[in-house]
Symmetry: C2
Subunit: 464 residues, 2 copies
């Protein structure tokens, strides 16, 4: 085992200070007085991994004092050992052989922040099978292979914790798993992708075009040079699969999630939404629904959404994330914070690491509970309110013919406004809740009407 | 032991359904296949207690299935057994002898929702000493006798959980205790009293006077007929003492908290704040500071505060609560939701009850960790930005003489506006961060200036 460059031995800890004021109690350390040693093997040392090593070094004395755990990162697997990662660990802790970190008898706990499916899946599986707790920030791994990994953790009685996999530093997994464990959760709606929220916030605040806002996000490092995973909703889709699994106790995978991205959102959409006292957010939604045959279903989807300006999610701007939980007994909850970044994500990993270490010291792991079988709702079954923007001929009788089409398909209209005149005329509708399949049939028939020149944006709406 | 009127035996649970869609996994129940029995003794059966009994009955099958715990409320202590509480428990479960509930060998876990200090303190102590986990929603008990109770829980290796004691259904205690355990928290600011937030929201939204808004709150049942505990900040003060204890791992009691209430806030203050793009909220603040001698201190205070309109706390309106956490690594977090009400509070109690029961089944309790001794900062030492509203003679040279007084006391001015003319003239200042004692000395000297007719409202400001 290698030693720390930063020398922070528990024996050097400052004793509790005696202060002059306030009622005071000092609780007992474990009976022998010394913190339990926890040797951490780290898989991956990018932004999050390096931030974690630094954070563990900074916080080691206080964690030893307050939690009786002496955390030490002893081995780190990286792809290239030649890169200087500027972390307070000696160079010989690094290896390119990740499997040797997992199997090292001097490693007690594994932290996986390498990302991707393989070899992460293989390494995490091996660790769990060997009875080593695992903390991971890997949403793709969980959204695709969560079932087998949770089962493996359960079977071996060890922790598999993943607070950092969704919404970075925001404590959402633990509240869903524990605080709300007695709670029938009906729906979770999240702004869980900072890149798209930054882009939409810029479009709303500054009148920027989608392309200009995307380029700005790329220049600031918020968006990748290939932004597909963010802007088309794949990143948010993997996260909402993980959220749904924990919130509903049912296995949901990335492939179950319906998604639409934001690349089609125009400045005109943003302005029309603002006229209606709404903003546009890319929401990841997980909800319980009931199928036509009366069986419960889970709907999981990611799409741009009109959010009323007085809804708490409307005030989540820039690269911030938030998760809004609607539950029967607790009512509405929202958890807001930094969804990405090395230090915030590392902070969430460290919280899990402390939890896993404490459980290990006590000889058992936590559990996400028994997962159930529930059908995934086909998108056709999903009920939403919709915003529609339809270009029409500006002459008497047009509204009546358009409204008739809505009515024939059972889609009820909540509000309508005409915008523009003559060749610029368009009708802007917001519907009451309608089934996706009925709305699509409505759109198909509207497109066939002579008076309808084009069907513009169609966006879902929350609220009411 | 009495049986349920609602017959929900675990043996009757519907087996897991086989669904046609999605990847699916069913995890193992405990090896013998049956959930662990957990018999709950309830102390108090008001709004929260009655809601808890109903919630346990509703959720019992799912908790048995998902968490392998069979929860049953078997005994209930009340002051008056003659009142029909309309809960799904047989009448002979009720008793006026609370001590007999705690000592009953058929009771495994105690839930205390009776409120007040005694006999709650005595009963909770007895339960913990007997090795029975306790879940409580009693902020006053914890804010006054937390030290001895946490120590008793620690010494007996059982849980003392209290998520419901602060901000109702909002999961704040568990994230502070666990998710952020590795996190240096610098400051926590909460809107933790729904009554005062309702009153201030009405004053801002409708131009209501303080008295009219208070009467409306009383009519709606949000405020007591004697509203002192809410409007003068005592309720929020007890809550912030509990928050500070958990956030900083240091014992803080209600008596340590400085408080100012909202009864002096006028409609003019609300309007002037709005002109400056701020709203006024009653904030409960807990922060780490450093004393003049370099020693760490904890500041705990409750007071009306100007909050910038673009701060997430500004969007917390009506009877909602929110807690905003500023931490070094995780960045800013906010947790938002229902702070009161029978069902929301009972939901938080049930989350704790499941957690305590699961820990009991595994043979150990959780812990809030080792509490440290830290000094409480005297209010004189606290640094805030201030808003001041000063009525002055409207003549040349007055601003210079006023500004000189600020400068002499080391209070730096961030912005100044003159409002009104002639006999209505006043100067509205916002300062940079200033020590309370320097600001008070400034005010004393300002009052002695001939050109100053009166010093109006003085309020703290957050932001920047």
């Amino acid at each position: 085992m290698t030693s720390w460059l930063v020398n922070q031995q528990p024996g050097n800890l400052t004793p509790d200070r005696a202060g002059p004021g306030g009622t005071v109690v000092v609780m007992n350390l474990p009976s022998d007085g010394s913190p339990s040693s926890v040797r951490v093997g780290l898989l991956g040392c990018g932004h999050v991994g390096a931030a974690l090593v630094a954070l563990v070094a900074e916080r080691r004395p206080e964690i030893a004092r307050r939690r009786a755990l002496d955390l030490e990162v002893v081995r780190i697997a990286v792809r290239n050992t030649a890169i200087d990662r500027d972390v307070p660990v000696s160079g010989d802790s690094f290896t390119t052989d990740a499997a040797s970190v997992v199997s090292d008898p001097d490693v007690d706990v594994i932290v996986e922040v390498m990302g991707g499916i393989e070899p992460a899946r293989e390494l995490v599986s091996t660790a769990l099978a060997a009875g080593k707790p695992v903390v991971t920030a890997n949403k793709d791994l969980l959204a695709n292979h969560g079932a087998e990994l949770y089962a493996l953790a359960e079977a071996n009685g060890v922790d598999l914790l993943f607070e950092a996999a969704v919404a970075g530093a925001i404590p959402i997994m633990r509240p869903l798993r524990e605080s709300l464990a007695g709670e029938p959760i009906n729906r979770v709606m999240g702004i869980v992708n900072g890149t798209t929220n930054f882009i939409l916030s810029r479009m709303a605040a500054d009148g920027a075009s989608y392309v200009d806002a995307l380029v700005e996000a790329q220049n600031l490092g918020y968006a990748e040079s290939d932004p597909t995973a963010d802007v088309e909703g794949y990143d948010a889709g993997a996260k909402v699969a993980v959220i749904a699994t924990v919130a509903f106790g049912a296995m949901v995978v990335a492939g179950d999630v319906y998604h639409e991205g934001i690349s089609g959102i125009t400045q005109a959409d943003i302005e029309l939404a603002a006229d209606l006292q709404h903003c546009i957010k890319l929401l990841a939604v997980a909800e319980r629904t009931v199928a036509d045959d009366g069986e419960p279903q889970i709907g999981v989807r990611v799409h741009p959404t009109l959010v009323p300006l007085d809804h708490p999610l409307a005030s989540v701007n820039g690269s911030f994330n938030a998760v809004f939980v609607e539950s029967a007994a607790a009512g509405d909850l929202m958890l807001y914070g930094r969804g990405a970044g090395g230090r915030p994500t590392a902070s969430a990993v460290l919280g899990d690491l402390i939890d896993a270490s404490a459980n290990m010291a006590r000889g058992h792991g936590a559990t996400i509970g028994t997962l159930e079988q529930v059908r995934i709702a086909p998108i056709d079954d999903v009920v939403s309110a919709f915003y529609l923007n339809i270009e029409v001929d500006d002459r008497p009788g047009v509204l009546a013919s358009v409204a008739t089409v809505f009515g024939e398909h059972g889609v009820s209209i909540r509000s309508m406004e005409q915008e523009g005149l003559g060749g610029e005329a368009r009708l802007v509708f917001i519907t009451h809740g309608a089934r996706e399949r009925d709305l699509r049939a409505t759109l198909d028939e509207l497109r066939s009407l002579e008076a309808v020149r084009a069907v513009g944006s169609v966006l879902r709406v929350i609220g009411d």
